[in-house]
């Protein structure tokens, strides 16, 4: 009897008010067992579904013996304890072994009936044919597995990209201290838009760049890579940072992307008078200069975003560095870090200046101190990327 026939028989039985037919031909398998599991009663539907003979079951087989070995373990370790402790077990997935050895996926509900004084009497078991449901569940499991695999791949790709785009350790500059930190937002499964780079043009001639490409993900990473490569190439033969940024602006305008970015470029040159720093900012927060004897202050002049205007306003500012001077380059993930998940309070420039005053002993102590301070402010869970680069004259 298939399910449709069984259902029809069930309704016929309803009309007839025939309790016997209702039990025997219900569209669900019924079994009753002793508390030990020995089968004492079984309905026709179950026998039809499984091809098992009534006389082979009654008083001869336990319910657990009708299951696959794996199912039997589950029966002993989960189903039986639940039944004994709670009196019921619901929606347990078992495979019933048919007389021909094939398996019938089933969902099983059971109740344990007890006497008034709590002595177990009988277990009533309802077995539902779950063949199609199980196939669907397998599909779900496969889909879940695929989703987990893709997520793992995406995370790996994001991390690899980040590692490529962020120099793992800042280089040594003879005569200067250099330290840098980068912390991606959230759990690191996305490629952030912040980056920094420090590279040598010639003896005593270095460039430090920090930037923020709008957006996240692979497209932002492509623009980041383009910006970095362009800055490196354009810095050769262009001594003024504003010219480098102008070239980058043209490249971005002609690149098929909607993305713009903010970049700040610092050219460091060793002269007879000492190190000079020339800065140009394209839409980026101005660097902070910390100098012994005075409070930290921004230096340079604000400039336009890159990748938006045909002729952006960009200006160079030069400063002669003294011993103890430190320049802090940072992205807006520092100053716009918010307190708490819904916090309206920003970390802000004043806190940054205070942190700089507290940690100005060395480039490393500045980077570590700022990073720690801003992370603590956001209770360790930054919502935006954070990048900090510090150059200091020992």
């Amino acid at each position: 009897m298939n399910q449709a026939e069984a259902a029809e028989a069930f309704y016929a039985a309803l009309l007839e008010h025939d309790a016997e037919a209702l039990y025997e031909r219900a569209p669900v398998g019924y079994l009753s067992t002793t508390p030990d599991g020995m089968i004492v009663k079984v309905n026709a539907t179950f026998l039809t579904w499984t091809g098992l003979a009534r006389e082979a079951l009654i008083g001869r087989r336990t319910f657990a013996e009708l299951l696959t070995p794996g199912g039997r373990i589950y029966h002993e370790t989960h189903y039986a304890p639940m039944l004994q402790m709670q009196g019921t077990a619901r929606e347990i997935a078992f495979d019933i072994v048919r007389s021909d050895g094939s398996r019938m996926p089933a969902l099983v509900n059971a109740v344990l009936e007890r006497t008034d004084v709590g002595a177990p009497v009988v277990v009533r078991i309802a077995v539902f044919d779950a063949t199609e449901r199980r196939a669907y569940e397998r599909e779900l499991l496969r889909a879940k597995q695929r989703a987990e695999d893709s997520e793992a791949r995406a995370t790996l790709l994001a991390r690899t990209l980040q590692q490529v785009l962020i120099p793992p350790a800042p280089p040594d500059i003879p005569g200067l201290e250099l330290a840098a930190a980068y912390r991606p937002a959230g759990r690191g499964e996305e490629v952030g838009g912040d980056f920094y780079d420090v590279f040598e043009i010639g003896r005593g001639d270095w460039v430090a760049a920090i930037g923020d490409v709008c957006g996240k993900g692979v497209e932002a990473a492509v623009v980041t890579a383009l910006a970095r490569a362009t800055i490196r190439a354009a810095s050769v033969g262009r001594p003024n940072p504003r010219d480098v940024l102008g070239t980058l602006n043209q490249v971005l305008l002609h690149h098929h992307t909607e993305r713009f970015c903010t970049i700040e470029l610092l050219r460091l040159r060793e002269t007879e008078r000492g190190w000079t720093a020339t800065v140009a900012a394209g839409g980026h927060p101005l660097p902070i200069l910390a100098r012994d004897g005075s409070s930290p202050t921004t230096f340079g002049e604000p400039g336009d975003l890159l990748g938006v205007f045909v002729e952006p306003d960009l200006r160079d500012t030069e400063v002669l560095l003294r011993s103890g001077d430190a320049i802090v380059l940072y992205t807006d993930g520092v100053t716009e870090g918010r307190q708490g998940s819904q916090g309206s309070q920003f970390y802000g420039e004043q806190r940054l200046r205070d942190a700089i005053t507290s940690f100005r002993g060395s480039a490393t102590s500045l980077v570590d101190g700022i990073l720690h301070d801003v992370l603590e402010f956001q209770t360790g869970n930054p919502r935006d990327d954070i990048a900090v680069v510090v150059v200091r004259v020992p």
């Binding site: 508390p35 030990d36 599991g37 336990t62 657990a64 696959t68 070995p69 794996g70 199912g71 039997r72 373990i73 589950y74 029966h75 002993e76 370790t77 989960h78 039986a80 304890p81 639940m82 004994q84 402790m85 709670q86 019921t88 929606e91 347990i92 997935a93 078992f94 495979d95 996926p105 199980r134 569940e137 779900l140 499991l141």
Partner: protein, 267 residues
């Protein structure tokens, strides 16, 4: 680790006599310390009864689950020793159900001084047949078990985790237990199943110097009589009791007989 941290991590429940001999009950694969509900209280008159959940089960700290540490039973045995150390338990009577019998064996081999007696309820040192040794299962059966775990854990959802964990005290088997009993994170269940059913501790048994009671159900589909007899014969100092009980959990299906057998061994 501080005792309080350990107590929270393993959801430790203490009862019985403050200065009594400690009796540490360890549950097997599948459920949690509630499995001892019908047995443990009867020892509170003389013993310090200690119940706990293995990491990943019941009310334990799920975040403490480390797939590497718990890929073999040795990780669970380390936990038992950690509990003994943190609670300063000595002269311990260890009662282990199912796979926790072998976990107790490993712990007692590593630190014999801690343990006075061991009680193994339905032990099996190896579930998979091997040559003349009949464990009761073929390798395919275990694969099938892992599949059946996946099918059944479709009913488990992350939303239930707080219910399972946020259960400071479970005095009665109420609705909250219905929601959580015998249910756990599918990945953890799979890991525990693998550690359990792929283990082979036959060679370890002869190193167990602690006197051990082997409690065998007369009808156990997971640890058949032949396996119980194997454990009895392999242990240097064993007492064997065959219980007239059906199923792998005589502590639930035949609590009286289980209590009596343990009592005559430890009292």
């Amino acid at each position: 680790m501080a005792p309080v941290e350990v107590a929270e991590r393993y959801n430790i429940k203490l009862s019985g006599q403050l200065d009594g001999q400690p009796m540490l009950f360890a549950h097997g694969f599948g459920c949690d310390q509630n499995m001892w509900r019908y047995v443990a209280p009867s020892f509170e008159d003389r013993f310090r009864v200690v119940l706990f959940d293995h990491i990943g089960a019941g009310g334990s700290d799920l975040s403490a689950y480390d797939p590497q540490r718990y890929s073999t039973l040795a990780g669970y045995a380390e936990d038992v020793l950690e509990i003994c150390e943190a609670l300063d338990l000595h002269d311990v009577v260890f009662v282990g159900h199912s796979v926790s019998a072998m976990i107790g064996a490993l712990a007692a081999i590593e630190t014999p001084d801690r343990f006075a007696k061991l009680v193994f309820v339905g032990p099996s040192p190896r579930y998979i047949d091997d040559g003349d040794y009949v464990g009761g299962f073929g390798p395919d059966d275990i694969t099938e078990l892992l599949d059946s775990l996946e099918s059944n854990y479709l009913g488990w959802s992350g939303a239930m985790a707080p219910v399972i964990m946020g259960n400071p005290d479970r005095p009665e088997l109420g609705d909250e237990l219905t929601a959580s009993f015998c249910r756990t994170d599918p990945e953890i269940a799979r890991g525990f199943a693998r550690a359990t059913f792929l283990s082979d501790n036959r060679a370890d048994l002869r190193h167990v110097k602690t006197p051990t009671l082997v409690l065998q159900s007369s009808n156990d589909a997971i640890a058949p009589i032949a396996v119980g007899e194997f454990v009895r014969d392999a242990l240097p100092d064993s007492t064997y009791v065959l219980l007239d009980a059906t199923g792998h959990c005589p502590n639930l299906s035949a609590p009286e007989a289980t209590r009596a057998a343990i009592a005559s061994f430890v009292r």
